[in-house]
Symmetry: C2
Subunit: 367 residues, 2 copies
């Protein structure tokens, strides 16, 4: 049963791990880190509880930022924005929240719940709704376990606010996305309000501590002189997929998403090979010499070859030397209902999902 108080080192480790689980999406972890550290410097405490400690009747609200990460980077948040949406949703329910939850384990959205918890003196649950990051609101295990995304609250930094009650989670995504674009590209949301029992069935357990563990592992590797990528693959049970130099990046903002692709030319043992990574906020599919080598819902993360730091999709640029790794997703995604909302077909790729362990075996010796 995890129950710990976050210290500054945890925060440093957390954002590194969250950036890796963020698979390129979820915004710049640096901004999220600043926000949390500022809370700690103000003397506020951030306490994380294990999912096992949650009462069945507890009232839980996940909080997050929504929108195009690049917009979020241009408008540094004050930390009050997501709290505003939380307060709004509480007022609508006429009930105080018992626990805050992350909705995803990636990028800035791994830190926003911590900031809100610090501001309000609330506990954060060591779990989330993805075990990674995904671009759309219905792409959460909460959804596949039948929890409704709405009533949800959305607000912008000006103070415009909305309570949305949609007929289903797909309509919630559609309407909230439109509002987010109208807000200028980013919104602060309180979403998937639920109770202890359904939450415990649906959530991905231990996401915060897992992200911290990943960050700590990389830090330790640097100290001990161990190969950081090997250490990372070890702790995540992941696979090295490619090593090379980015030779082309294309991106477009469509419908409130950062879509695009990066082409990487192989180096060393991957010489004479090319890999293309397609993304929609997050990395979705990795295609090596015409063959899919990893796809959603498994995680695809691009790391800087020199620093071993993960690179968000908005920071991919020509000339960067990178390592691409693949990490098996949470088991909750690997059933028909999960794959229906986050499998490659949902994103428009006419391929069946094959777990990364099988793909690696099939193409032989990638790792």
């Amino acid at each position: 049963m995890v129950h710990f108080v976050l210290n500054k080192q945890d925060v440093e480790d957390l954002v590194v791990g969250a950036a890796i689980l963020g698979t390129g999406g979820g915004g710049d972890p640096y901004i999220g880190k600043l926000m949390v550290l500022q809370e700690l410097e103000r003397g506020r405490k951030i306490e994380v509880v294990s999912i096992d400690e949650i009462d069945d009747e507890a009232f839980i609200i996940p909080v997050a930022a929504m929108g195009t990460p690049v917009v979020l980077m241009e408008k540094i948040p004050s930390g009050k924005e997501a709290l505003f949406s939380l307060n709004l949703l509480e007022k609508y329910f006429n009930r105080k929240v018992d626990f805050i939850s992350p909705i995803e384990a990636g990028g800035v959205n791994s830190t926003i719940p911590l900031v809100v918890a610090a501001e309000r003196g609330l506990l954060v649950i060591d779990a989330d709704g993805m075990g990674r990051a995904f671009p759309e609101l219905q792409m959460v295990t909460f959804h596949i376990y039948g929890i409704k995304a709405t009533p949800m609250a959305l607000s912008d930094e000006r103070g415009n606010a909305i309570i949305l009650d949609a007929i289903d989670n797909f309509w919630a995504e559609r309407i909230a996305r439109t509002v987010t674009v109208r807000f200028g590209g980013s919104a602060w949301i309180a979403i998937y309000p639920t109770y202890g029992k359904p939450y415990k069935d649906a959530a991905v357990k231990g996401s915060i501590s897992f992200a911290i563990e990943i960050g700590r592992t990389l830090r330790d590797a640097k100290i001990t002189g161990k190969n950081p990528i090997d250490a990372l693959l070890d702790v995540t049970k992941g696979y090295a997929l490619f090593k090379g130099k980015i030779i082309d990046v294309q991106r477009f903002n469509i419908g409130g998403f950062a879509r695009g692709e990066a082409v990487i030319e192989g180096l060393d043992e991957y010489k004479d090979s090319k890999i293309t990574i397609k993304f929609q906020n997050e990395n979705l599919v990795a295609i090596k010499d015409g063959e899919i080598i990893a796809s959603v819902p498994d995680l695809i993360t691009v790391l800087d070859s020199e620093t071993s730091k993960p690179i968000t999709t908005e920071r991919l640029r020509y000339g960067l030397r990178v390592i691409v790794i693949g990490i098996p997703c949470n088991e909750k995604w690997r059933n028909p209902r999960g794959l229906e909302v986050v499998g490659p077909k949902y994103f428009g790729y006419d391929i069946d999902y094959v777990p990364i362990e099988m793909r690696v075996k099939k193409i032989g010796g990638v790792a």
Copy 2:
């Protein structure tokens, strides 16, 4: 002090008058009429009270449809849609509404408050926020008297619902319009929630009875053989501006509005002249041979020459023989604050507002 129970004849007269005050916008009055008549056939009573009967503390909510009128024509409403939004807003305020109000005196929006009142057994106030119809949410006398459009409720016919709280009425318009487009082109709104005192200062008094009086006047003219256009100009203190045949209509759906223009070639005393009417849901400006002869906020209404029935902008078509009339707007619009939100400059025409009485005098003998 007006206080009357609406009968079927009143409803017939009302929709004719409302179509004239609707200046081409506000949707097909026929659909609105069917909705109200259905309520009366169900044995429901629709009572209209004078604005003078309203207590200063009374809680008042205007209800309406929002969006492109042509979409509203394609999706016949059940009558429950606007009620749904009203109930939502009441729940948000945790207070039952005392009176329903129309927000505009035009087209289908003159009847929707009646339907809601019938369904809920509420009284409707004989007033509105325009004395005509306008395309945007902040274009109401409520706005120029400092009443906030939000919290407002929006819903669609599927059951998707939103409570919006915007920082000002322009943001309310922007966000609500975006949501309306996402809903498929039309939304049902409960908006400008307010209390008796501010409402009485801000509202345009007597709109429902005025619309009925216009309809009745036209009906009487037919019976007595009087010229219906003369009778209409008499009761509205309006001016005949043009008579001719439509030779061109252009329209486009942009940003949730039906925009466009109609060109009319003169007949009889207007032979060798042309008039262009520009609209955004409603008719905005009438330009005769290059010269403005009427503009918002004054009313410009196009009537069928043969039947003397008003024609909505979506029904304008090549070959129709029409009469164009102009009606002075409510005095509340004719001050700088009013003209700022509904004058020709707001709509992108670089001309000063000149009251129609002055324009007619200036160009001489149009009436």
